[in-house]
């Protein structure tokens, strides 16, 4: 039996809105998942056996908000699956499975640096739901990088959802500071780094944190089918930090949040 119960539910779309270039905000009614989800966790979003097509398999997406009995998803269009999700309208229903996977672990950290690349922003939008953080009163900084201004999720909306003032970086300098978000990585005084975004970004964050000796957790992605550990499909190379032994872990159930030193990168 798992530590946390997994819910499976047909879930009506309640709101959908374009929030940036190729990027959409979806709100789904899913009371049980909303009540249980924590930052870092995800849901599998699919169409069950009703009207399947593209996508056939459900798609993993981070829980990006809990708004009463709704969850919010931040979806960027890559291929056919995310395109269909982005095109959903109120009246439509999706099949949800969740909450799934591991969560960020605060431990005793007092100064947390969150690094988001692209829609890797999603799990950090859920920070207000992080119980350990509320209890500890730790300080949180959020860095958020995108290619250009058109792709940036509205900073005001980020403030509204999280209470945090995001520090924005764009590669072309069209908004916020120019450069990659990893260029702004000042780990002084930081005692926990959390990151989510494209692999090159995660690798850079990981290298900087390991070098600085700052604890670091990364939320990673891999192709998934089941989302619950039965298909053994979402393997990622890891090392056992104690024995140094290399092997595979499952992103859906051992992750998506991994301690930086566990990833064999």
């Amino acid at each position: 039996m798992r530590a946390q119960q997994i819910f499976r539910a047909w879930s009506p779309v309640r709101a959908r809105q374009q929030v940036a270039e190729d990027t959409y905000w979806l709100e789904l009614e899913a009371a049980e998942i909303a009540a249980a989800a924590a930052p870092g966790q995800f849901v599998m979003v699919g169409f069950g056996m009703r009207g399947w097509g593209v996508p056939f398999l459900p798609r993993p997406n981070s829980v990006a908000a809990v708004l009463g009995e709704r969850i919010g998803l931040l979806i960027r269009v890559f291929g056919g699956g995310s395109r269909r999700l982005a095109g959903l309208r109120p009246e439509d229903e999706v099949l949800l499975l969740g909450p799934l996977g591991t969560r960020f672990q605060l431990g005793g950290a007092k100064a947390v640096l969150c690094v988001a690349g692209g829609v890797g922003l999603a799990p950090f939008l859920l920070l207000p739901r992080w119980e350990p953080l509320k209890r500890s009163g730790a300080e949180v900084r959020l860095l958020y990088g995108e290619r250009g201004a058109a792709a940036v999720f509205d900073p005001d909306k980020i403030r509204e959802l999280t209470g945090l003032d995001p520090e924005i970086w764009t590669e072309d300098g069209s908004l916020g500071r120019q450069g990659r978000v990893t260029a702004g990585l000042d780990l002084k005084g930081v005692d926990l780094v959390l990151a989510c975004g494209p692999p090159p970004m995660l690798k850079a964050v990981r290298a900087l944190a390991l070098e600085a000796g700052v604890p670091c957790q990364l939320a990673v992605e891999e192709h998934m089918a089941c989302g619950v550990g039965t298909c053994i499909g979402c393997a990622i190379e890891t090392v056992d930090p104690e024995t140094g032994e290399a092997g595979y872990s499952l992103v859906c159930s051992d992750g998506p949040v991994f301690a930086a030193e566990r990833l064999r990168w």
Binding site: A225, C226, I232, C234, A235
Partner: protein, 304 residues
């Protein structure tokens, strides 16, 4: 009240719906999502003599109407299975029957697993994976008449338990391979395993799958699975377990009419873990509507 039970391998299956090997772990993984013991049964992930880490990622991706997988037979191995997995199956599945899927690269490998498990409790019999297209050489037994005959014979000598051979569709005449299994002492046949396939990332100009090639499963292969089941059931007397793309009760009936006494659901469980219980419910409804009081009467009832 519709009777969904099937008498196969000398035991009663409460209904014909099983979960396919590699798509339900060792049962426990679905236990908090569905009532596994209400199913006809499950087939475990393949067990090999030693534990295996499996293939490098990417291991799966979507294909039109299905998916491709190259897990590489990642599994806990014979000893791991006995220690970590079998106890749960023994303690939790009272009515659902368990087949242990066995894979290997030599007759010895297969015999080692079967011999190592045969005295244990908690499972009914074996499903022999002679057709996994993912691991080099693994496809051999399933497409080589002589090797298959030897393997089945050796396994028959090693166990009295139900011995089911899982056929690969990757042959010109699947009926012939079914016949070989029957002639050499098998108790049943599963049809079908996946089709070899390949998906290419045209931007990176590389195969998407780490292992380059993988096996195709899902609704895309359902008509091929129904065809294979019909071919096999027309050729041999052994019970047939129909597999491939089953998503619901209607699909299950296709296989049953084609001659399957049991079916397995695989990929569709990823689309919706309720697929198996809803399929059982759906079978009850269709039978009631069609006035069928015993589902077993429909096995092979196709008018063709």
């Amino acid at each position: 009240m519709v009777d969904l039970s099937m008498d196969v391998f000398g035991v009663e299956f409460q209904n014909p719906v099983m979960l396919a090997s590699g798509t339900c772990g060792y049962g426990e993984e679905y236990a908090d999502l569905i009532a596994v013991d209400e199913l006809g049964g499950i087939v475990t992930k393949a067990v090999t003599p030693e534990a295996r880490a499996g293939n490098p990622p990417v291991r799966i991706t979507e294909t039109p109407g299905g998916m491709i997988n190259a897990i590489g037979l990642a599994n806990v191995g014979l000893e791991g299975f006995k220690r970590e997995k079998l106890p749960w199956l023994r303690d939790n599945l009272r009515r659902a029957h368990v087949l242990v899927n066995v894979a290997g690269w030599s007759v010895d490998d297969f015999v080692k697993v079967v011999a190592g498990l045969d005295e244990q409790d908690g499972f009914l019999g074996y499903e022999i994976n002679v057709s996994c297209p993912n691991v080099e050489g693994g496809t051999m037994f399933g497409t080589d008449e002589l090797a298959l005959a030897q393997l089945v014979g050796a396994l028959r000598a090693a166990t009295q338990r139900p011995l089911v051979i899982k056929l690969t569709p990757n042959v010109a005449d699947i009926g012939l391979f079914a016949q070989i299994c029957e002639d050499n002492g098998a108790d049943g046949l599963s049809a079908i395993n996946t089709f070899p396939g390949m998906v290419i990332d045209v931007e990176a100009r590389r195969p998407v799958i780490g292992n380059v090639t993988g096996g195709i499963s899902g609704p895309a292969i359902r008509p091929m699975g129904v065809y294979a089941t019909w071919k096999v059931a027309s050729r041999v007397e052994l019970p047939v377990i129909g597999i491939g793309g089953i998503c619901n009760a209607r699909d299950t009936l296709e296989y049953i009419l084609a001659g399957a006494a049991l079916v397995q659901i695989g990929t569709a469980m990823f689309v919706d873990p309720y697929t198996a219980p809803e399929t059982i419910e759906g079978l009850r409804e269709i039978c009631a509507r069609q006035g069928v009081d015993k589902l077993a009467h429909l096995v092979g009832a196709l008018e063709a």
